[in-house]
Amino acid sequence: MPQEPEVLDLQPATKKDILGAGHTLNSVTDQIANVVLTGKMPLLWYGAIAAGLSLLGLFGLTATLLFVKGVGIWGIRIPVGWGWAITNFVWWIGIGHAGTLISAILLLLNQEWRNSINRFAEAMTLFAVACAGMFPLLHMGRPWIFYWMFPYPNAMGIQPQFRSPLVWDVFAVSTYATVSLLFWFVGLLPDLGTMRDSAKHPLQKIIYGILSMGWRGSAKHWALWETCCLLLAGLATPLVLSVHTVVSFDFTIAIVPGWHSTFFPPYFVAGAIYSGFAMVLVLAIPLRSAFHLKGLITDKHLDNCGKVMLATGLIVAYAYILETFTAWYSGNVYEQQAFWNRMTGPYAGYYWFLLTCNIAAPQALWFRKIRQSPAWLFAWSIIVLIGMWLERFVIIVSSLAQDFLPSSWGLFQFTRWDVATFVGTIGLFTFLFFCFVRVLPMISMNEVRMLTPQSKVQREETHVE
């Protein structure tokens, strides 16, 4: 039966534990479900919702202005037609990838520490993809006819160009959003049953009752559910790798110098996971403090995320080096000029700053002290997020601004509406994420239960309670 809400924050015994000492089936359920059921939100939540809503308002204003005046309110001018819009798209979609990595790839690898962070990381994926989707939609200038991107019988007698990576992207991103949503819902199903059974308010009972579809914890259903999760993980793993691969095809299939290279797919996937883990940490560190979840999201989780960031950061560093080497070794004057411009031209400041953020700064993560200090890790994650945004900006803008003929070169200048749209989607993301925290269990209860000593089937009689 649901117990009186209390703040119980069972700290782990050592720095290596992934669950607080003394947690039982009941205590993990209470601690996670009570956040939603009691509705007592910490100050952080009100602050985040207020900030999110304000920025969402700004986003609404910008979008309205864009519909009225057109995409010219942004700084996009030929030759730079993609500007911030596509930079933001790639940045957001990359952030989403860490959620799928945690929920799918780490499930297949049997990494138990993922159990307490996969739910909110998957929510992060969904909302990041929603934010990403805004940019191509708005960038079209006429978003109300977005459905022209899909093949359907129409009176115009035309069809999409299936040989274009931009059409592949439509399929990749919409599949990714759908599959992430399905996977998230399947994972939520048992927890919705718990919410229904723990709820006291009749309205909560009805809503969670409908959403849980009648989940009753039957062993037959659990067996199917586990098969389903493994199958979805197996499907989501190649999917997540394919999505950023297809995003990188948007660039590599074009012949623009600085874009046309074969190693973009792995380079983009690594960068995506890199920035995604940074966002996981940016969310997890304040959440676990504000909601007293340090016994569920422990220092070990932060440490592991830091290690993944370091590893993917090194892959990204290798990609930067290889990219530059290939440009030089290719003997192609346009390619060489593009990279020379990147390093010394009008965007050199951005380029060197991104190298500092993405290569130099994360080397601090070699030190355990940094990885186990939430404040430092938070700061480092913000640096990585900035660095990864700049990386996409430099790839897109510096390559388009100075391509083949110097007579057709032109510089990109962002406008205040570029900034407004970008921070507007940050508001959309924050608002959606904190709404999720308010109405759904942000940590998977059924998976964390499996980490408690009480949950193991033993030969001897052991009664933990």
């Binding site: 039966m1 592949w168 759908t178 718990t194 062993a219 098969t227």
Partner: protein
Amino acid sequence: MLSSEPTGIYGVMAEFDNPTDLVRAANAANAQGYRKMDAYTPYPVEELHHALHLHRNKLPLIVLLGGICGGLTGFLLQVYITVYNFPTNIAGRPLFSWPMYIVITFELTVLFASASATFGLLALCGFPRPYHPVFNVPRFSLATRDGFFLCIEAEDPLFELDKTKTFLTGLDPKEVSEVAN
């Protein structure tokens, strides 16, 4: 204890204190010859698979068929549009340019397979099913929290209310209750 008529009974349910007792009870019931039974736990307990004969299910097959359907849909859609419905001659390049179809074929394979996995799960579980007799047991709400339940159903050929009840009582449960239909 809502009804003592065997016809109005869904089954007999025993509650156990921990997963170890539940697994032992399920194994005992299986050895006794009971087949129509189910266990209810707050998280998946793999050790129950033997007693409940849960080693195989149809979901992988459904997902495979869904994936094949998706792959065919993606590929044939593109063949139909680029070759027959809307052919575009670009510098005399072949209309049937299959390498360019791979990405969308793959995406639709994953999309259809994932949808089959999710809806297959719901269908095989019989969801949505808001009402089920087991919910009549007052303490059953603990099955999604920290309760471990075993229910032998009245449909089982060996089921006899008193005998089954006595059998379950002998397995050291916390409580045994009849489940009204």
